[in-house]
Amino acid sequence: MADTGVLETLLQRVEKVDDGVDSLAVATSLGVDHQVIVGAVKSLQALGDVISAELRSSKHWELTEEGTEIAEQGSHESRVFSCIPQEGLAQSELMKLPFGKIGFSKAMSSKWIRVDKAHEGGPRIFRTVESIDDQVREKLLLVQKGHSTQLEEKEKNELKKRKLLSEVGNWKEKKFKPYNFEAMGVAPDCGHLHPLMKVRTQFRQIFLEMGFTEMPTNNFIESSFWNFDSLFQPQQHPARDQHDTFFLSDPAHAHEFPQDYLERVKKVHSEGGYGSQGYKYDWKIEEAQKNILRTHTTAVSARMLYKLAQQKFTPVKYFSIDRVFRNETLDATHLAEFHQIEGVVADYGLTLGDLMGVLHQFFTKLGITKLRFKPAYNPYTEPSMEVFSYHEGLKKWVEVGNSGVFRPEMLLPMGLPEDVSVIAWGLSLERPTMIKYGINNIRELVGHKVNLQMVYDSPICRNPPTHF
């Protein structure tokens, strides 16, 4: 805070004149450092509508060494001109002079002199005008006398280019108010990626690093057949309830299915087969035809595995990260749509130990190394395992994902070889993202109620969250 005396004086001075005062002038007249005046101005500004200040810059010019020489003795070109006698001068002679080379070309371009290249005894230089006006010297003299304002900016820049003038470089010696390194810099003007998408990119990267191929999950609309029936999820399963799944009124039904496969699915549900008892109920095509918004990306995995079974089997590793939809009760952490991350491996003779091993590798890439597995139930996997990781902060085990081995009742009707096992796991994208970015309400992350400031401020995602 500048002392109040300076503030008063400054206000008085400003009041006296109409078009303001120059802070530098005030500083000089008061005999104080310019920074004191600047501080006083800032303090007054901070009070509100007291004074207005505008930033002015003034430049101070001075002659360079060469410029000083010219101011004293004239410009190089004028000295060249003056040293050429009426009968001319051999060019070689001229070039011997210290100012000869520069002066010659400048005088030439000003058309003060001419060269007779055919002259016997080598090129000879003659005057072409009677007298000259050494403007360069005059301009420099003006500057030297402190009247640089009389020159135009363009002229000064010209002289600066000729290294005759220089802007006063004495800021090197000047004292500045120290920077406040505690303060923030100015935010760059830029666009931002959405935090959920940044985390998605990382998960995608992890799968790609592990050799997984991305599945085409760009189909939000799915038939109940692919979403449920093909996964051996019975038609009375609660997940197929109106309360859990979005059904469509238009287009209400899917109209095309691989008929042979559909028959096998029907049989395995209603009668069993492939070593299974089946669910022993009346399987209805009408239920399978119902279109829905897919409730999991596993519907796409089912399509991919079915396609795989229609060709000579080769082992595959697939993944996807995409939207799924549930007609569930919404709360601070649940929305009607969210992103599911899914990994699938199909190969001969995969074991439950293999599933655990793959999960271990996957979660290690996320920075999670302490894993354990809880038996669980899922209609289309057997065995099914919930994946828990040890949360160092909470000092307890928390669920981070779900996994399992697809049931034979799902795989064999597709036509996959009997000794092929398919292991799979899934988790949500939103949950780890919310934890990483410390978001408690999912609506602040996804959807139009997003807080754009949060998007602007969110850091990059090197690793997805180290704990969920």
């Binding site: 830029c190 666009g191 990626l193 959405h194 998408m197 995608r204 799968f207 050799g211 997984f212 191929t213 991305e214 085409p216 760009n218 189909n219 939000f220 609309i221 979005f246 059904f247 469509l248 009124s249 238009d250 691989p258 496969y261 096998r264 049989k267 492939y274 008892q277 669910y279 022993k280 109920y281 399509r303 396609k307 229609q310 060709q311 082992p315 595959v316 939207r323 007609n327 009607a336 491996v345 995969l350 074991t351 439950l352 130990g353 038996p375 139930y377 057997e382 065995p383 099914s384 049931r407 034979p408 009707p413 009997e418 000794d419 996804v446 959807g447 139009h448 807080n451 754009l452 400031q453």
Partner: protein, 848 residues
């Protein structure tokens, strides 16, 4: 996942020890349960209704335990304790028995045909001499509720009624009547109501109103009467007050009415297995007879025990462990699946009790073995699956574009794929009928009426929610919209869009236009008509007249940009001008050398996949066995195997230097994997095993290695096998007989074998022959079947097995020589008797 609340102290008392919360949590985790919450009634009430209401409530500690959705046997304290005690080796799994009443006739439940249209199935049973305490009674009621909520699908599939048998007298009649004609005093009411009155009475009942819809619109309501016309229940809504059970009840009549017969049986089994523990004769259940409208009768509860056979190898291989057959049998027994090694190789016989309706496949048994082994004791291994990763091209393009659009100064938004009709139509100045939108039939709120057809409304709503942010707002989104598309199997498809908006004090069309130019530069499309891109005036009610243009790329319209119409801006509660751009990005995909995955599946199958019958699939592993006689000797004997192992000591393959059919043939001849002590053979066996799936492609064999099996017996000799019981029977007395006969047969076989060096491959087949209806003359049918004669076919014993509705099927055994008679030939020959035979199925197929 259902949650079961049990009193902690009661649970520990039943478990015979106490645990700390952590210890119990750990036990749950291992067993596949989850200790969800530790609470008390008081705490629950105070949380839900406030402290004042909770003041009088009990503060006995409750454990809320999450139970897997398919484990109905763990839905009550009794089942949980039984499961855990068996798991901890502290209890032998009880055997549930159905018994006849001591005094003559079983209770009868007669179903009339009127029930057909509303709730056709019913089953019943009696718990005799049960002793209730308050806790047991509460648990009994609670289990019904849990079953109702889960397997019974909120009573729509099955409804349970329990009655004090001493207050009513059978036979009971399950019928259906007009609602006005049903009148009774329902449970806990003081007067009689007609069914019609009840339906309106319960409209406001917080509990029962959820079940009314199940029968509300039916002309007839289901109802159960006793022989004196007392109403037991009006399923699935309410029981009668008359027969309600109390702590003093000694004999309980349980009925389950259903729309799904299988589930009704399961539910009844569950009720009686859980609570027969408290009967005078624990774990016995008194049978009840159900009489069907057609006069046929059935005895319930079924309490069926099923036996499955599987190999230890199967479990070891699927789980990734290496345990002995005995150890695996022990593991399974700890999961209430009484198991034992049969002694035949690594075969294990598993008995699935009526409580484990969740076990429907060998993989379910395998899971139980893994649980008992301990998931976290399994060694984590890395599969050697070699694959090359591919990105989905559309996602790859999206990822790359997103990065550069952010670099262009636009911020990414992420909006919902679902929205209201208004968002995509009226608010944009369009008609919903013109949008090719997909409509949701059961939205809970207007936010989920349709799938978005455009990304624009989402971005405008994002701006509206962020009006406080400094201007300008520059947003973009690359995501999918959904459009109806008749050419797709589901009638709709996604379309990947790019949308951007600029919101500021001035419209900023030039900013959005500049973004288009930049996007095209990124996509390597030059500004030019024809082969490049250009924009061209368009009319669109979303945009300000004259300030809208279509984007053309290589002559194709891919999107639109312009300044939004002020009305549109207002409808999204915005106040400043806004320009926007939306375009398809799929046209910019380009080509990849790799074949990308697509979601469309082939509708016609090129490869023929067959649906096997149950027994075939169980047999398939063995069916390729032909003969064990090889040039190295009989590989079913140790001598033969040793000879083969010696042969392989300095050879990789049977023939030459690559795997061939010769390896496959010899491989097939070996009945079970050799022991690792025969190291050369063991190495070769595992190596050849890895070719199994590609076996068809291996080169053919040059020489013959496997010799034909010599006949087991000539057809004439086989006649003395005719009296062998070919049917597996659950009856213990019978199975002793079978065992005796089997032994005898083995002895005879051994005797014959010693005389005759070579055998003929033979199989015993059990056929199910189904008639057209209950009027088919079964003796005639059998006569016809037996009239089929072929070389190498011998008919065995037969019996009639009830199928249902009075229909019986003929189960008949036969012995065939594999080379001469196939099952197809048999089926064909029998189905030729069209007059009698509806179908023929192979019920069992065993190599002799």
């Amino acid at each position: 996942m259902p949650t079961v609340g049990v009193k902690r102290d009661l649970l520990f008392k039943a478990l015979g020890r106490s645990y700390t919360d952590e210890e119990f949590d750990e036990l749950c985790f291992e067993f596949g349960l989850e200790l969800d919450e530790i609470t008390s009634e008081k705490e629950i009430i105070s949380r839900e209704q406030g402290d004042t209401k909770a003041s009088g409530a009990s503060d006995v500690i409750l454990y809320k335990i999450d139970v897997p959705a398919n484990r109905y046997d763990l839905l009550c304290l009794e089942g949980l304790v039984r499961g855990l005690q068996v798991f901890k080796n502290k209890l032998e799994v009880p055997r549930y028995k159905r018994v006849s009443p001591l005094s003559g006739e079983p209770q009868k439940l007669i179903i009339t045909k009127e029930t057909e249209a509303v709730r056709p199935h019913a089953v019943a049973a009696v718990l005799r001499n049960i002793t209730f305490t308050q806790e047991r009674y509460d648990s009994f009621i609670e289990l019904q509720e849990k079953l109702h909520q889960n397997i019974c699908r909120k009573r729509s599939l099955v409804a349970i009624g329990t009655h004090d048998l001493d207050t009513i007298s059978g036979p009971f009649t399950y019928t259906a009547k007009r609602p006005g004609d049903i009148s009774f005093k329902p449970l806990n009411q003081t007067k009689e109501y007609t069914a019609t009155q009840l339906m309106s009475l319960y409209k406001t009942d917080s509990h029962l109103r959820h079940y009314l819809h199940i029968i509300e619109d039916k002309p007839l309501y289901p109802v159960i009467y006793d022989s004196n016309g007392v109403v037991l229940s009006m399923p699935p809504i309410i029981n009668g007050d008359h027969s309600k059970i109390s702590l003093k009840t000694k004999n309980v009549f349980i009925e389950c009415t259903a729309t799904d017969q299988t589930k009704a049986k399961t539910v009844l089994d569950m009720m009686v297995t859980m609570f027969s523990e408290y009967c005078a004769q624990p774990f016995t259940v008194e049978e009840a007879e159900v009489v069907y409208p057609d006069g046929k009768t059935c005895i319930y509860p079924e309490l069926a025990y099923r036996k499955e056979k599987l190999s230890g190898k199967f479990i070891n291989q699927k789980v990734g462990i290496n345990e002995s057959t005995e150890k695996i049998a022990h593991l399974l027994t700890r999961m209430c699946l009484l198991s034992q090694a049969t002694g035949a190789g690594d075969e294990i016989e598993v008995e699935i009790p009526p409580t484990r309706s969740d076990i429907i496949h060998a993989c379910d048994i395998m899971e139980d073995a893994a649980i008992a082994y301990g998931f976290n004791n399994i060694t984590r291994t890395t599969p050697r699956t070699y694959t090359v990763a591919n990105q989905f091209p559309l996602n790859k393009l999206t990822e790359l574009l997103r990065q550069d659009l952010a670099a262009a100064g636009f911020t990414e938004a992420l909006n919902f794929a679902l929205c209201s009709q208004e968002d995509i139509a009226e608010k944009l100045g369009k008609k919903i009928s013109e949008m090719r939108a997909v409509h949701i039939s059961n939205p809970k709120t207007a936010e989920f009426q349709v799938a978005r057809t455009t990304l624009l409304p989402g971005l405008l709503k994002t701006i509206a929610a962020n009006r406080k942010m400094p201007l300008p707002l520059k947003l973009f989104e690359i995501s999918d919209v959904v459009l109806k598309d008749e050419t797709k199997d589901v009638g709709a498809r996604n379309s990947r869009r790019f949308c951007a908006v600029y919101y500021n004090k001035s419209p900023g069309f030039e900013v959005i236009h500049g973004l288009l130019d930049r996007t095209m530069q990124l996509l390597e499309v030059k500004p030019a008509r024809g082969e490049g891109y250009h924009i061209q005036t368009a009319d669109d009610s979303t945009f300000f007249p004259g300030r809208c243009a279509d984007i053309f790329v290589r002559g194709k319209n891919v999107g639109r940009l312009g300044v939004l119409h002020p009305d549109v801006i207002n409808r999204f509660e915005l106040t400043m001008p806004c320009s926007a751009l939306e375009m398809d990005i799929e046209p910019f995909l380009g080509h990849t050398a790799e074949t990308p995955l697509t979601r469309d599946v082939p509708m016609k199958e090129v490869i023929k996949h067959r649906f096997p019958t149950r027994d075939e699939s169980q047999q398939s592993a063995h069916s390729r066995l032909t003969s064990t006689k090889t040039v190295f000797g009989d590989v079913s004997t140790q001598v033969g195997l040793e000879a083969l192992s010696d042969f392989l000591a300095d050879k990789s393959y049977i023939e030459g230097f690559v795997a061939s059919q010769a390896d496959m043939i010899v491989f097939d001849a070996i009945p079970s994997p050799p022991s690792p002590t025969l190291c050369h053979l063991w190495r070769w066996y595992n190596h050849i095993n890895s070719f199994q799936t590609d076996r068809a492609r291996l080169p053919s064999a040059k020489s013959r290695y496997v010799l034909p099996a010599t006949p087991l017996a000539t057809p004439n000799d086989a006649s003395d096998e005719e009296d062998i019981d070919l049917f597996g029977s659950d009856d213990e007395a019978e199975s002793a007989e079978v065992a005796r006969i089997k032994e005898q047969r083995l002895a005879e076989y051994a005797a014959k074998k010693s005389k005759k060096p070579a055998l003929i491959a033979k199989s015993s087949i059990l056929l199910d022959v189904k008639p057209w209806d209950d009027e088919t003359d079964m003796s005639k049918l059998e006569e016809c079947v037996r009239s089929v004669s072929m070389d190498g076919l011998l008919w065995g014993q037969s019996k009639l097995v009830p199928v249902g509705y009075g229909i019986k099927k003929l189960q008949i055994g036969c012995v065939v020589e594999d080379d001469k008679v196939g099952t197809d030939m048999l089926e064909e020959a029998i189905t030729a008797f069209e007059e009698y035979v509806q179908s023929v199925d192979v019920a069992a197929f065993n190599k002799i």
